[in-house]
Amino acid sequence: MKFLLRCLLVLAVAVAIGLILYDAVQALPGTSPSSNPPGTQLETQNGSNAPDNPRPYPPRNDRGGGFRLRSVVGIAGKAILFSIIVFVSVMAKNIVFERAPNRKKKEN
């Protein structure tokens, strides 16, 4: 019961943050429902507001999925990037947070 209540509280906090983010983004001038990304605005037939490179809204590339080589390489790339950041952060942590106690030990 306590666990469930805590889950609900975490979810409520997430929803609150989500609503704040939603309001903040909706208030931005470039993200109104009628706004489109640069170069994708619809042109009128008489050409008065015709953009140079009219395109429809860029579709998300969904080819139905499946573990193709490109996807595997993508995941591996992210995993390698993650490992590098972990490695560098562990080194940094050892330098920043564990040097001071070692010095104290040596002094003692």
Binding site: V25, G65, G74, I75
Partner: protein
Amino acid sequence: MNIKLNFWIDVATFTGFMIAMEPHSTGLTIHEWFTVAAVGTLIVHFVLHWDWFIRLTSRFFVKLFHSSRLNYLLAIAIFIGFTSIIVSGLMISEHFVPALGFQVGARYGWRRIHSLAANLTLVLVAIHVALRWEWVKAAFIRFLMTPFRKIEKADPVLTEEDGM
């Protein structure tokens, strides 16, 4: 706290996050449904660390210069990061939200927020893992390298509280 459950939830969350970072690997439909389902594991992860979070909130300024304080702030940032990913993901949803009977107008800004939040959260999670590296290493050895061996005494790193 159940260390084994905690470890396997962490492994599942991490694996899911890495796969979700590459939406082409599963296709958009699975990507959207899968990530919405993963919200549950994230909430469980946060709730499993509830006591740590509450204690550190009350003792934050007692021992300020400690890796646990940075980890605490990182945990909050990661929580906001994942919330941003989920909200922006729902706003650009092409399968999940329409399947519920709602229509969201695709907005260019949300896509940028979605990818930016995902990449930033990946970096934050990596630093979060690094700050608890001793625990991750001990848990990896205990539950993956020697899962069937009887250990008389568990590694103290697995049971100690971070920064208390």
